[in-house]
Symmetry: C2
Subunit: 244 residues, 2 copies
Amino acid sequence: MISKNQIKLIKSLGQKKARQQQGLFIVEGIKGITEFLKSEYVLKHLYTTKLIFDAPQGLISEISELDLKKISALKNPNTALAIFEIPTVKPSQNTGLIVALDDVRDPGNLGTIIRLCDWYGIKDLVCSYNTVDCFNTKVVQATMGSLTRVNVQYVDLESYVEAHNTDIFGTFLEGENIYTTTLPRQGIIILGNEANGISERIEAKVNRKVTIPQFGTIKETESLNVANATAILLSEFKRRTIEM
Amino acid sequence: MISKNQIKLIKSLGQKKARQQQGLFIVEGIKGITEFLKSEYVLKHLYTTKLIFDAPQGLISEISELDLKKISALKNPNTALAIFEIPTVKPSQNTGLIVALDDVRDPGNLGTIIRLCDWYGIKDLVCSYNTVDCFNTKVVQATMGSLTRVNVQYVDLESYVEAHNTDIFGTFLEGENIYTTTLPRQGIIILGNEANGISERIEAKVNRKVTIPQFGTIKETESLNVANATAILLSEFKRRTIEM
């Protein structure tokens, strides 16, 4: 059984404001929940239709499929929904490459970028305040558990970049060809908003403008999706670190 | 004004069966419609709230915002909706690299992959019959006009691959490291289904198993999103063709 108050709390966590007030967020599905349970994240409560999880008994409630449907944000809820505590942010480690997002708004894009950071061993993802919240349920879903391994922090991006005396990369239509220019092992790689790219304020701080060249004969493709651009950039930066 | 029968026809084109029976599909929004009007695609009819398009007068109807809302599949319709004819498929040119999809199901992924093919100058995209229809409204929307520049065909993928005596690449967890192995200028690159990867039938035809190596210290990230994997592969294949 699940009380009306519990349902109300869970539903409210769909909103950023409530997540911040409560310091809680939601993970749905067996795979995601299992990854978060294995991580340093602290479980608040787990609602499940099957008792298959390794978590303290007092924190687990067995509920009906019907109740799960009531609390889930998914069309087809998958076995369980868990509430975890939002952790305190660790300061960025400032070693290696840092990815920074300037107002990325689409939850799917942020989720995929977190997955890419995890794949390419990027420890720190820095987001402007207007970037979509990484504890948004759709983002958590899209990260496939990678959120447990990437340190995400929200900052005033302009001040953050200013405070770092390093190579600041940004992708533009004009810039050094990423395939032929030198790429260091350290620096900040900035990706911009889906519609507007990197804002002027931040562009002024970029000291390494780079471009992903087009190979098509007709150069009319406007731009790459921001997650794909991240994939190509991280691939190219990390490829250079392989001892051949 | 728009008649009930016209509304019914347009609504029906949300379904693959109706699209195939009628030989028609839908493009929404100014940018997408403009790109299709510039291309070889044949306009059937254009419904718009503003007469800003360069198309034969007999094929344009000015309609109200309310009528546009009735026929649009978008939450926020953008000025116009056009019906175009589905073109007859050109046989693949069999030169250069061909991208082949083995049951990619998500419209957003297919749309993004078409955009990537356009960016990297891939002329032919070959899809298994169970891959999502490229004239699906969401796919057309996600391609941002790139569909006008990439030749997409649906085939029995097993027979197609069998008929091609060339390098057949597929991504797997184990395989040659794509960053260090040789990559030719010709061949077929196969990407698999979102949940199951490349099917066993098709895997049996792959003669160049490759892998995108993980750089994270904890190798728990299950896989990359199929569109991101496509981005990384095309980037790496095409990079090699640059004269340094």
